[in-house]
Amino acid sequence: MLAIPTVIFLTVIVFLMLRLAPGDPVQIMLGLTSIVSEDTVASLRKEWGLDKPVYFQYFYWLKNLAKGNLGRSIQTHQPVAAILGGRIVNTLKLCSVAYIIGLCIAFPVGIISAIKPYSIIDSFATTIALIGVSVPTFWLGLVLIILFSVKLRLLPMAGMGGIQYYILPSITLGTGLAAGLTRMIRSSLLEVLSQDFITVTRAKGLPEWIIIIKHALKPGLIPILTMLGFWGASMLSGAVLTETVFAWPGMGRLLVDSLLARDYPVTQACILVGGIGVVLVNLLIDLGYGIVDPRIRYD
């Protein structure tokens, strides 16, 4: 299991982020605008352990982290954990709707493409899917805004509220997943369909769609699961872009805002939480392999 080293590496990167930032850490943490006396800076330096060697500072920071103490925002002086809580929920809402849209499009389209490869429907679907993976998330969002909010005035441009607020952002975020997954499902099913046990089911005279759903889909799921794992990370970066386009009050928007305002404690917390989320998704997917492929066992 590489989840633990990955998380450790992530904490090192996030910790170093503040140390690598140009300027004195105390001054950065106090905000660039505030003017404090030399004595206060010196006492804060001692209080935060900044007079000790770097590895000591890292463990000190880690100890606070373990207690759930992520520091305070430089801008609002609120505890970071309090700011983050609601934002994470908003991001998860957006991502789950997008995920569902992606899966609902990708599975039927991918299966249809695999049943009739190199047919007209298949070429159409694969071309659209290729366009889908090539269009930048943020630009797709902007085009949807121009079409449905500015020109047709059907849907809200930005913000969060009822169902109508979910439509454009989740389509924006879900398109990449739908397109990528369709391609993956198609190629993975075609791979399985060329194997001997499928020839047996064909010889039995089963219709093609039963062969796919009952016999080919499960072995074909393994590369698809890997892809879904990669999409954990892509979803996160997609969420950063989508939330910025639609001013969605989630974690991605918070990350960008905190970077622009140089609010480092918030930045650190966002990257840490997002990163751990991605590691958890990968962990779940690793466990999923065991369910799909009984030959894989974890001791």
Partner: protein
């Protein structure tokens, strides 16, 4: 192999379109000063945020600069930056992956664990944070993206090397006394090139996507340097008045990524033997 590529391209229309488009784009990037109708930095203050017209083919931006000229110069920025990043990642990844596959043991374990850890991270978000903190200079962007994204090449090179190093011609090379350096570079990497070339084109598409995303968020190539991503970003602010800016620059990004994906897919179809056998079976 070059003959095989040309032969394969003749059969694949989409890949042909991709190559054609990229050739034009390269020419545009090379001859930008002669092609662009205006200086990309020149402000025409009496023509602010205009739509497409005869004088300004794609309209003007918020400072009255000609959008077409800025997009033409933006081609340079985008292609150059992604070319450098993908080339660096390709070199690091291929060399490390090949070494891991060739030597095995502790070298393999160390390199592949680093790969696993890097792949477990949300690379773009980490890159975004680091670039924003260190300052979005051209060098920082290139270095950070290269250091974070060489992992795909490493996995690919390692996989190929493991099967190649057991082959008879490598054993023969070893028997006549070829040095390890020669075996790795002359015999293994050169025979592993096909999948690496495919990965290279697909990574170009991905890198352009990432770079434009960074620029859009304001942490990529900084204005006034023309870059497709930052043009979209400025365009968003004026989306109600003049949607042209955001739309046209996005079309440029999407078409370039699409071209690289067409080529990558085409190359994979005829360079990857497994896939080729399957296609012949279908026909």
């Amino acid at each position: 192999m070059i003959r095989k590529i040309i032969k394969g391209f003749r059969k694949n229309k989409l890949a042909c379109i991709g190559v054609g488009y990229l050739t034009i784009l390269l020419a545009v990037a090379l001859f930008a000063p002669w092609i662009s109708p205006y200086d990309p930095y020149a402000m025409h203050l009496d023509h602010i945020l205009e739509g497409p017209s005869r004088a300004f083919l794609l309209g003007t931006d918020n400072l009255g600069r000609d959008l077409l000229s800025r997009l033409i110069y933006g081609t340079r920025t985008t292609l150059l930056a992604s070319f450098i990043i993908v080339s660096i990642t390709c070199c690091i990844g291929t060399v490390l992956g090949t070494l891991a596959g060739y030597y095995g043991g502790i070298i393999d374990d160390t390199i592949m664990r680093i790969v696993d850890i890097l792949m477990g991270l949300p690379q773009m978000v980490v890159a975004l944070g680091m670039i924003a903190v260190l300052g979005p200079s051209f060098t920082n962007i290139l270095l950070l993206l290269s250091l974070l994204t060489w992992t795909d090449f490493a996995r690919l090179a390692r996989g190929g090397t493991i099967s190649l190093k057991e082959s008879e011609y490598v054993a023969a090379a070893r028997a006549y006394g070829a040095s390890t350096f020669r075996i790795i570079f002359k015999h293994i990497i050169s025979n592993n090139l096909a999948p690496i070339i495919v990965m290279y084109t697909l990574r170009m598409a991905y890198t352009i996507l990432t770079l434009s995303g960074l620029s859009y968020l304001g942490f990529g190539i900084q204005p006034p340097t023309p870059d497709w991503g930052n043009i979209v970003s400025i365009g968003q602010q004026y989306i109600l008045v003049s949607p042209w800016m955001a739309v046209f620059s996005g079309v440029a990004i999407s078409m370039t990524i699409l071209a690289f994906n067409f080529i990558g897919d085409g190359l994979r179809d005829f360079l990857d033997p497994r896939q080729r056998v399957r296609m012949q079976l279908k026909k």
